[in-house]
């Protein structure tokens, strides 16, 4: 069957990517990886997955293009406005009590979620005492996140979401429109550290007060999800908060006991216990 040849070649390609480039997709949810690789095959003009394999081993410049297929997520600013409203109304009051704050946006992709949080913290008067850590495994996505430029036609949706999140300002205060693009304010980035970090292979970050990692874990299988949740557990300060995607949960995790549901409906958890 053609399918099983593909499956075998995909397994070999993922092994190669790990052995040669240290990108580990081996425990990603396979159906989605397969769809993305088959799209990559067509759009990059290869006849088979095996051809991608030999090309990427010969030519490292193919790697970033392949990574875009394997990792890049198109998101929205303030996607799921009720999540941001819950952060604003229920989590922010706790965060106000700290003299300084650390926020980690894990798997930040092109930065939509990151800037949503940066704007929210600005509106709530916490921006100056907050350091944001934005991480992703894809260097191209990190660059895009750093640039903070989005197509203007997406901004209408961003604006609507922002308003529904309980906005205290207008989104247009934070960007200038320029040739069909919205260029977000440089000052938003002044307290953001961008870095290459893998939830699969890298270690914990220290003493975070809030970790937001939404719609990243659904791309992992259960074992890998658990590894990432373990990293979050280690990285959170006592009583720190973890925000997940609306269809993600800690229910099946070996680390479930280390967290309490803080706003259950919005998948906002709080680190408890040891």
């Amino acid at each position: 069957m053609a399918n099983s040849t593909d499956d075998h070649e995909i397994q070999l390609l993922l092994e190669d990517l790990f052995q040669h480039y240290h990108y580990d997709f081996r425990l990603y949810a396979r159906a989605s990886i397969k769809r993305r690789l088959l799209q990559a095959r067509v759009q990059l003009g290869f006849g088979s997955i095996a051809e991608i394999r030999s090309a990427v081993l010969r030519d490292a410049t193919l790697l970033p293009r392949l990574l875009d297929f394997l990792t890049v997520q198109v998101s929205e600013m303030f996607r799921d406005p009720s999540y941001f409203r819950a952060l604003r109304e229920q989590v922010i009051p706790h965060l106000r009590t700290y003299p300084s704050l650390k926020v980690w946006v894990a798997g930040c992709s092109n930065g939509e979620e990151l800037y949503s949080l940066a704007i929210l913290f600005h509106e709530e008067g916490l921006a100056r005492k907050t350091m944001f850590y934005a991480t992703d495994i894809n260097p191209t996505a990190l660059k895009a996140a750093q640039a903070a430029v989005y197509p203007l036609d997406r901004v209408r949706q961003f604006t609507e979401n922002h308003q529904q999140s309980g906005a205290r300002s207008s989104l247009s205060d934070y960007y200038t429109a320029d040739y069909g693009r919205a260029v977000f304010d440089r000052s938003l980035g002044s307290q953001i550290v961008f870095s290459d970090h893998s939830l699969v292979t890298d270690a914990a970050f220290g003493e975070m007060h809030l970790i937001s990692c939404r719609n990243v874990l659904i791309y992992f299988d259960r074992d890998l999800q658990d590894r990432a949740i373990g990293l979050f557990r280690e990285s959170l300060a006592r009583r720190g908060f973890l925000g997940l995607g609306s269809k993600e949960s800690l229910r099946f995790s070996a680390h479930a006991d280390a967290f309490g549901a803080f706003v259950g409906k919005e998948k906002i958890y709080q680190r408890i216990g040891a």
């Binding site: 069957m1 399918n3 659904i218 949960s249």
Partner: protein, 196 residues
């Protein structure tokens, strides 16, 4: 082959259904006619506005003998259970008889997209999947049904003359000429025969 835990027989087949405009009515008629102990899991993508909370499960549950739920990421499929794709997420079937969700870009302007479910189901189960395309006003599902047909699975399309919106069934029949065009009551009979 038996399940090592011994408490249930391993799944061998699944049914996937795609519906769009007019789909609630058509789906209700089908699901209401299937018994509680229907032996295959049924996975459904029904196009709904992306921002709506899913009321589908609440709507369908009282009409069905089978267990009706929203599909949860990485959950193991079970017999006698109907799984709906959550609004805003693609629903994918894994080769391990589990499901996965994704926020990949919309396909055919839809998320969830019928094509994504059907193509991954064809990939996971080959001939052991039945795909059903119901009423709708777009072309989603045509490629997916085609993949199911090509993998040796059973392809069924609601008779366009009966469908509230014939566009989607017509597109599916065009893409997958081997598909059978059946009225709702005949679709129910076909699904019941697979349970025998």
């Amino acid at each position: 082959m038996t399940d090592p835990t011994g408490d249930r027989t391993p799944l061998e087949r699944a049914v996937v259904i795609g519906a769009s405009a007019g789909g609630v009515q058509a789906l209700s008629s089908i699901l209401a006619a299937l018994p509680a102990h229907y032996p295959h899991p049924i996975l459904i993508v029904l196009h709904v506005p992306q921002r709506s909370d899913s009321l589908l499960v609440e709507l369908m549950r009282p009409k069905c003998g089978m267990i009706v739920k929203e599909a949860e990421d990485k959950e193991m499929l079970r017999q006698g259970t109907v799984y709906f794709a959550p609004p805003g997420y693609h629903l994918l079937m894994e080769q391990t008889m589990t499901v996965a969700l994704s926020t990949d870009e919309p396909v055919n302007f839809s998320r969830p997209a019928i094509d994504v479910l059907f193509e991954t189901a064809a990939d996971a189960l080959g001939p052991d999947v039945t795909g059903v395309i119901l009423t709708g006003a777009n072309h989603d599902g045509a490629q997916g049904l085609c993949a199911i047909g090509a993998a040796g699975g059973t392809a069924i399309v609601q008779d366009p003359s009966e469908a509230e919106m014939p566009t989607m069934p017509r597109a599916a029949l065009e893409a997958c000429p081997s598909a059978r065009s059946l009225r709702i009551d005949a679709i129910v009979q076909a699904l019941l025969r697979e349970a025998a």
